[in-house]
Structures are given as C-alpha cells and as structure tokens.
C-alpha cells in the first residue's frame, strides 16, 4: 500500500510517501490512521488529532470508514486551502 502525505502532515511524518504493509485487521481509513500513528513519534504527532485530517483513497476523498486494501494509494492531508 502506498501512503502519501501533504502539507503539515508530510512535515510531521518527515516523508512525502512510504510503502507500508499494514496487518490484515487494518480495513479502513480510521484503522490505517491508528496503525500509522504507532510507526514513529513523527507519525504519532501527525495523526494525533484525526479531526484535523482528511484522507483520499485512490485519489478520491474518503471518510474514516472508507475501506483500504493492499495496492491502494492512500493520502493524508489537512483540509484544503486552494483558490
């Protein structure tokens, strides 16, 4: 599974992307957040407040209960501020 990070999520994690193999019990975005948060202090800081995070699965905005599976591209970022 490819995970991408943007804006301050990228800065706190300390990487723009990584390949991860979460355990099979990680089935949705919320589960992936909980698992990723255990990977390093930077991850823990980035994922400390899930209300400040937004996600996309395969380049579509995705809610916390959206399923994730091996081979997916999952991105985490703050609420968008373009325009």
């Amino acid at each position: 599974m490819k995970v991408l990070y943007f804006a301050w999520v990228r800065q706190k994690v300390g990487a723009a992307e990584e390949d991860v193999s979460p355990p099979p019990e990680v089935r949705d975005v919320a589960g992936l957040i909980a698992w990723l948060a255990t990977r390093s202090p930077g991850h823990a800081a980035a994922f400390a407040d899930a209300r400040q995070l937004r996600a996309a699965v395969n380049q579509e905005f995705a809610p916390p209960d959206a399923p994730v599976a091996p081979g997916d591209e999952v991105a985490f970022f703050p609420p968008v501020t373009g325009g």
């Binding site: 943007f6 905005f61 970022f77 609420p79 968008v80 501020t81 373009g82 325009g83």
Partner: protein, 152 residues
C-alpha cells in the same frame, strides 16, 4: 452536450487575455463571459506563499468540478487554471473563466467554480513572512458555507 472544460494545473504564469479571447474569438454564440482572477495578497508582512498540490488527484478534482459547472449551466466555454509553487504578492494564483449566451449562466457558474474549488480541490497554502517564519493556512468555515450554498 455540455462543453469540455479546459483545466490546467501548472507552476508557470498564465495569460488571462489570451485565455479570455480563446473563449469567444471568431464565434457568434457567446453573449457574455465572467472571470475570476485570484491574486496572492501581501497581508501582515507576507512575502511569499507556496502552494502544494497532489499531482494527479488535483487535476482530477478540478476537472470534475468544471464538468459539474458545464452540466449545471448552459456554457459555451469554461477554463480553470490553478498555479502551484512559490508565489509572491501580486502574482495571479487562479483563473476561472465561464462563457455563455447569457450573463446569469456565466456569472453564477463562475461563482460556483471558485466556491467549490476552494473546498474540493487538493491544494494547501504555506505562508512565508519577513524574517523567515512560515505558517500553513487553515481552512475557513465561511469557505465551506460558500460552497454549501450550491448544494452537492
């Protein structure tokens, strides 16, 4: 058949005059054209702004928003260009152009496009101030409210 919008995400500047002319030059079915040009503002000692985006998803999201506008209003043309990278006060950031036979479709669809792209296109702004401090811009509740007035 809705028109196919022109959607670009790029670091380079764009030519608003040429983009505008391209939507009505040589044709007799365009009665009006609305435009929105978003410009980098230099509030509070801001010296630059860096726009980060999600290559691939950003283009898809903008295209979907533009296609929604073309489906909702009878447009003869629609252009959305959004820049990324480092911009300084006075630099254009985003251009939205909508053309139609009549003014209401052009004006309303232009407002819709800028409201929706602010809340539905993956861009993030980092502000840079004199002295070197930087800060991520936070999403505003009024932007969500502006987007919500167009339904979903």
């Amino acid at each position: 058949m809705p028109v196919v919008p022109r959607v670009l995400v790029q670091e380079a500047p764009f030519d608003m005059g040429a983009e505008t002319a391209a939507l009505f030059a040589g044709r007799a079915d365009v009665g009006g054209l609305a435009s929105f040009l978003g410009i980098c503002r230099g509030d509070g000692g801001l010296v630059a702004m860096t726009l980060e985006h999600y290559p691939g998803m950003t283009e898809r999201a903008l295209r979907r928003i533009a296609e929604e506008a073309c489906a909702r209003w009878p447009l003869t043309g629609c252009t959305v260009i959004h820049r990324h990278g480092r911009l300084v006060p006075g630099d254009p950031i985003v251009l939205v152009l909508t053309a139609s036979a009549h003014r209401v479709a052009a004006l309303d669809s232009c407002a819709f496009l800028i409201d929706w792209l602010k809340t539905k296109a993956p861009f993030w702004k980092s502000e840079e101030f004199a002295g070197g401090t930087t800060r991520w811009v936070e999403a505003k509740a009024e932007d969500d409210e502006a987007a919500a007035r167009w339904g979903r």
